[in-house]
């Protein structure tokens, strides 16, 4: 099963991961809504995960894939936590604008 994919090679997967990461990064830098920013970080995360799976597949071992399972589990927990934080932040300032939180400005 190794390497028998003439139309779909490693670089396609890597490109997909890179595109996902870049989209997330652009979204994170340009948007100010906390939820969107959080979703963008998730997007970057997924980009990295896709890259990881692609390399695991390419090398023909299961370590990368099992690692990805763990990462997704942790990411789910972290997403719950982060959304709860966003809700709290929203309750404090009645807005989702990240610019409302600039108290530590030097």
């Amino acid at each position: 099963m190794t390497g028998e994919m003439p139309s779909l090679v490693l670089s396609h997967f890597l490109l997909t991961g890179a595109v996902l990461f870049a989209l997330g990064l652009i979204g994170f830098v340009t948007r100010r809504n906390l939820i969107i920013m959080f979703l963008c970080t998730e997007l970057m995360f997924q980009g990295v995960v896709v890259t990881l799976v692609a390399f695991a597949f390419y090398h023909g071992n299961l370590e990368g894939q099992s690692f990805v399972i763990f990462v997704l589990t942790i990411a789910a927990a972290e997403a719950a936590l982060a959304l709860a934080l966003v809700v709290l932040l929203f309750r404090r300032r009645r807005t989702l604008d990240a610019a409302a939180w600039a108290d530590l400005r030097g």
Partner: protein
């Protein structure tokens, strides 16, 4: 009673001091502080009187007394005995010898120092010996016994008086704690077997004195007086400490008995250190005993409660300088100028302080200067180097303790009765209001004035006789004009003494009954003291505006003191003479050669006449013809002002010593603020400026941080890529 029990004499009051500290904790417990203290001091007194006389070998006392004693065995002076309470400081070191014989000979010659043994590293022999030894050990000899009688006896009486006088005060238990501490310290001073322990006690009495002068710590003048006493004493104690160091350097021991033995053994070759030691030790004595030039603290010390003035600043602590000189007389004798210096300072201080006392208006200040003056007499006595003189000096110490404690405590009664009034211009004819106090103070004044056959008459006469024996060259001394002058000065001082003490008495108790109450109405009126120049009254009062006699608790110890002031001369003369002459104090003094009873008789008559004429002068000007006194006072106003302001010595000291030091302190403060603090601020400034330059990068915008992270990542990736492609 076993001699070993004397080790408890200092520790009973020490225990009582601790108990008093515990009693401070609950208001209900505080009144027990007085009984605890009194019982502890009385117990010490009982031990001192029962156990201490057993010390020493009675068979040799006669030889000692007459100067015929010759030391036969080294390590034994026979007259005193050492009781060790516990080990304290020991240093041990090896002394090396070239041969076995030398080491064995040394070990045999100095028993108790150690055994001769070979040095394992070299071929030498060595002896492990204690090179420095200072234990909590007590040396008991007749001189110690005399001092213990004064310290514990007067201490107990004053503590009983204080129980009444201090009742209702805020720091009742604190007062008795400090008094107990003082008795602990003072008994340590007089019983110390070595100079280091003596110095420890010496500093502890200074501490107790400081605590008690500053007893009314809410009053700025009391705090200032306490600090003054402490600082002036530090100056003297510096000399004392150096003297002890040099004594150890010279004699290789600080144990007093050993030092005295070496000083008196004929083999001692004097060198320059023997000339320096007495003067250094004298500095300590001048500070503690308030002699010129370190006398200024004593009059100010009257800020303390009156029982403290009586006990510490009149009867006991201030005599420790006299005691120390008497104890170390053989060391002083090694320098030909030391004892004459002591006598000269004493004589001049006596006259100087007596003149100031004649123009003071505050009773306690009059008695304070009188104390300085009488201490000068004692210095003159111990500084004469003759048997009668040193006996007189130490006998005067005893009688002075009686009559001066009596005078202070009776003036305390006056102050107590008049709510802190001390100014003799504002009281008159109090004999009807407080009859007991009146006649008790009369007894004290008679004794201070050396009225014939009172206690001080005998002691003062013994000093005068000693001075004139020295001046006329009896007992193998050289006749000396200077000592003749000092004797004359002492007689003139005796006249002034009789005058100033009866001036106060006639002013206060005789004449028409008029008085003005003091400003102390109750315990809460602390503000009334501030700024009032003469207000060193104690916080006393019972709310009603009439003078009253003191309570019986306060009066009863005064009767004992009065009996001592009047009759101690008859009772004590022979006993004290025996004690002093059979102690080490008189051991180096020449034996009595000539019969000087004629001289003594002449001086007795002379000093009797002087005393009576002084009293009559005071009676004339301050009882019968007060208007004449004020006329003369107006005519001699500059002189009166000079004397009232104590020759402006205090102001001179302020201008010449305190102010320059103050300015120096301000200069140092400025240097600290500008230079030192400036450097510190500079060190802080550099990181702060660095921080300011990068602070704007923390914009607080989340996206900005994202971009920065991206940029950082890009740089890392670029570096890695370059590294990969370039290799």
């Amino acid at each position: 009673m076993d001699l070993n029990t004397v080790k408890w004499i200092p520790w009973l009051p020490a225990f009582s001091a601790v108990v008093c500290c515990v009693l401070c904790m609950r208001p209900a417990w505080r009144r027990w502080a007085a009984p605890v203290t009194v019982v502890a001091i009385l117990a010490s007194f009982a031990i001192a009187m029962l156990a201490a006389p057993q010390a020493g070998n009675p068979d040799i006392r006669d030889d000692y007394r007459t100067g015929a004693y010759e030391q036969q065995v080294e390590g034994e002076d026979g007259i005193g005995q050492t009781v060790t309470a516990f080990r304290w400081i020991h240093f041990r070191d090896y002394r090396n010898f070239d041969s076995e014989q030398e080491a064995r000979a040394y070990a045999e010659a100095h028993p108790g120092r150690g055994e001769a043994e070979p040095d394992p590293q070299t071929d030498d022999w060595r002896v492990l010996e204690t090179t420095f030894r200072a234990d909590f050990a007590y040396y008991i000899d007749p001189l110690t016994l005399l001092m213990l009688f004064v310290v514990c006896g007067i201490g107990a009486l004053v503590a009983i008086y204080g129980a009444g006088y201090m009742s209702g005060e805020k720091g009742y238990a604190r007062f008795f704690g400090a008094v107990s501490l003082f008795i602990f310290a003072m008994t340590t001073v007089v019983m110390a077997d070595n100079l280091v322990l003596l110095y420890l006690g010496w500093e502890m009495v200074g501490l107790a004195s400081y605590l008690l002068i500053g007893y009314y710590y809410h009053r700025p003048s009391a705090v200032a007086a306490a600090k003054k006493a402490f600082i002036v004493n530090r100056i003297g104690d510096l000399g004392f400490a150096l003297g002890i160091f040099m004594t150890f350097w010279r004699y290789e021991t600080v144990i007093i008995a050993e030092v005295l033995q070496m000083a008196t053994s004929g083999e001692h070759v004097t060198d320059w250190r023997d000339y320096a030691i007495p003067f250094l030790l004298l500095m300590g004595a001048l500070g503690k005993s308030a002699q010129i030039p370190l006398y200024m603290w004593l009059p100010d010390a009257m800020e303390g409660p009156t029982p403290v003035s009586a006990l510490i600043h009149a009867a006991t602590m201030v005599t420790s300088g006299v005691y120390m000189i008497a104890r170390l007389t053989p060391v002083f004798e090694l320098s030909p100028y030391a004892l004459p210096t002591v006598a000269t300072i004493g004589g001049i201080t006596a006259a100087f302080a007596a003149t100031i006392a004649t123009c003071q208006y505050d009773i306690k200040r009059i008695y304070a200067f009188s104390t300085v003056s009488q201490l000068g007499y004692m210095f003159m006595g111990v500084g004469m180097g003759l048997r009668y003189a040193i006996f007189g000096g130490l006998f005067h110490l005893l009688t002075h303790a009686f009559f001066k404690a009596l005078l202070f405590l009776t003036s305390g009664n006056v102050m107590h009765g008049l709510h802190g009034q001390l100014d003799i211009r504002k009281m008159s004819g109090l004999r009807k209001v407080m009859p007991y106090t009146c006649w008790l103070m009369f007894a004290g004044c008679l004794s201070l004035a050396a009225f014939p056959f009172t206690a001080a008459f005998f002691s003062k006469d013994a000093i005068l006789a000693g001075v004139f024996e020295r001046a006329l060259g009896y007992h193998g001394t050289e006749p000396s004009n200077w000592f003749f002058f000092l004797g004359g000065l002492a007689l003139a001082t005796a006249f002034l003494t009789a005058y100033y003490c009866f001036r106060a008495w006639f002013r206060v108790f005789m004449g028409p009954t008029e008085y003005e109450m003091g400003t102390d109405h109750g315990h809460d009126e602390d503000a009334a003291h501030g700024g009032h120049e003469d207000a060193h009254g104690d916080d006393h009062g019972h709310g009603h505006g009439e003078a009253h006699e003191a309570s019986w608790l306060m009066l009863s110890p005064l009767f004992i003191l009065a009996a001592g002031a009047l009759f101690a001369g008859f009772i004590g003369y022979g006993i004290v003479q025996e004690l002093v002459w059979s102690s080490t104090a008189a051991i180096t003094m020449p034996a009595l050669v000539e019969d000087t009873s004629q001289l003594h008789l002449t001086l007795m008559v002379l000093s009797g006449i002087v005393a009576i004429s002084g009293i009559s002068t005071a009676a004339w000007f301050h009882w019968l013809r007060r208007d004449a006194a004020s006329r003369i006072g107006e005519k001699a106003a500059p002189l009166v002002r000079l004397l009232h302001n104590k020759y402006y010595i205090d102001d001179l000291c302020w201008a010449c010593i305190v102010m320059p030091l103050h300015s120096l302190g301000k200069l140092f403060f400025l240097i600290d603020r500008l230079v030192i603090d400036g450097l510190v601020a500079l060190v802080g400034l550099v990181p702060r400026l660095m921080g300011r330059s990068v602070r704007p990068s923390q914009a607080g915008v989340l996206q900005g941080y994202g971009v920065a992270m991206l940029a950082g990542l890009a740089v890392v990736v670029a570096v890695v890529m370059m590294a990969v492609y370039l290799t």
